[in-house]
Amino acid sequence: MEDSYLRFRITPPIIGSLFDDIEHKTLSPLSCLREFDNHWRVEFDLPMVGKKDIKVSFDGNYVNVEAKLKQKYSEEKLGTITKFEYFKKSISLPEKIDSKKATAKFQKGRLEIKIPKRTAGNLIKIN
């Protein structure tokens, strides 16, 4: 098993993260961030998206994801129909990550990014 599912850090949820941008026709995807022994894993739910239409970038400790929908997604709010064309979201990651060694895979409409932790420190001799 690649990941130990028993080693998580307990952190309360951050509420109100879905902000669809009607002006720019952009949907906010669901996402979750989980900590493992030596890496972080962030997932984005990107249905109606093809692998080639996803862009992932790092900006400092932010991971940015933008994806074009295969077809426009219509949603009606207060009598106004908006045709969304993109998913877009930035997530703040914890410090001490090695974004250059990050890897990503996309399966069943879910993007999974694995970001190694940066390890630094001094070994202490045990007498």
């Binding site: 949820p13 993260s17 669901l30 739910d45 109606m48």
Partner: protein, 240 residues
């Protein structure tokens, strides 16, 4: 609560509510739609924030009761935190007593460790051994080890102390994202248990759209679930 009593015996109650992967929500609402069930009442839960939904100008209560022949369904469109879950479980029990319900069945989701599996599996948990044969006859493996919490746990806790047996089906799913694919497996299993025919083509054709449409309900559900888990020591994730 307004209830129309049916003529048939051996009444079975299905319960759907938002939980992991929204598996219960998708499965039970699909059955209501597919079986063309009629709404016969509403359930009130103490302390639930007054909420009404409006669909095409029609006002809908968040927790509704449907019926067709001997099948009853209670479906909630709102997720429950720990305190509301207990109130909901007691309201369900009251309903069962008043309507001669002989068994109840729920559908929920459980996190799968291997998310690359082609088809999600289903596990079953029963309160009374009298329902073991349902699992055996339908080749549903028993949920053997682990812990459950939330609304399904509240309902199971209440019913295990009564003479009405309860069964919960756990479909492997992504716990933090809507997972209609897992719901399809749950629908097929429920249909087999109930000995009814259900065509799942409609939901299968809309899986991706359903995932987008239900983002906010998933987010609200996670908030409610994490309120419950926050009191324990094994909260697994940071949700953003």
């Amino acid at each position: 609560m307004k209830i129309v009593k049916p003529d048939t015996q051996e009444n079975t109650l299905l319960i759907g509510f938002p939980s992991n992967g929204l598996v219960g929500t998708f499965s039970i609402s699909y059955l209501i739609h597919h079986l063309k069930m009629k709404q016969i009442g509403e359930i009130e839960v103490p302390d639930l924030t007054p909420t009404l939904f409006v669909e095409g100008g029609e006002i809908l209560a968040p927790i509704r009761v449907y019926n067709k022949n001997n099948i009853f369904i209670i479906i909630s469109d709102v997720p429950f935190n720990q305190y509301l879950a207990e109130g909901f479980a007691l309201a369900v029990l009251e309903f069962c007593k008043k309507n001669a319900i002989k068994k109840i069945m729920m559908v929920s989701g459980m996190e799968t460790i291997n998310q690359q599996k082609e088809a999600p599996k289903i596990y079953g948990l029963v309160t009374h051994s009298t329902l073991d044969n349902i699992l055996y006859n339908n080749q549903i493996p028993k949920f053997l080890d682990g812990s459950i919490f939330g609304t399904d746990a509240a309902i199971m806790s209440v019913f295990r102390k009564t003479t009405i047996p309860a069964l919960v089906l756990y479909a492997e799913c992504h716990p933090f994202f809507p997972d209609p694919e897992a719901s399809v497996v749950a629908i097929v299993t429920l249909a087999k248990i109930l000995d009814i025919e259900v065509d799942t083509n409609d939901i299968q054709n809309r899986i991706e759209k359903l995932r987008i449409q239900h983002r906010r309900l998933m987010e609200e559900t996670l908030r409610a679930i994490q309120q419950e888990q926050g009191k324990e020591t094994r909260v697994p994730q940071i949700y953003k």
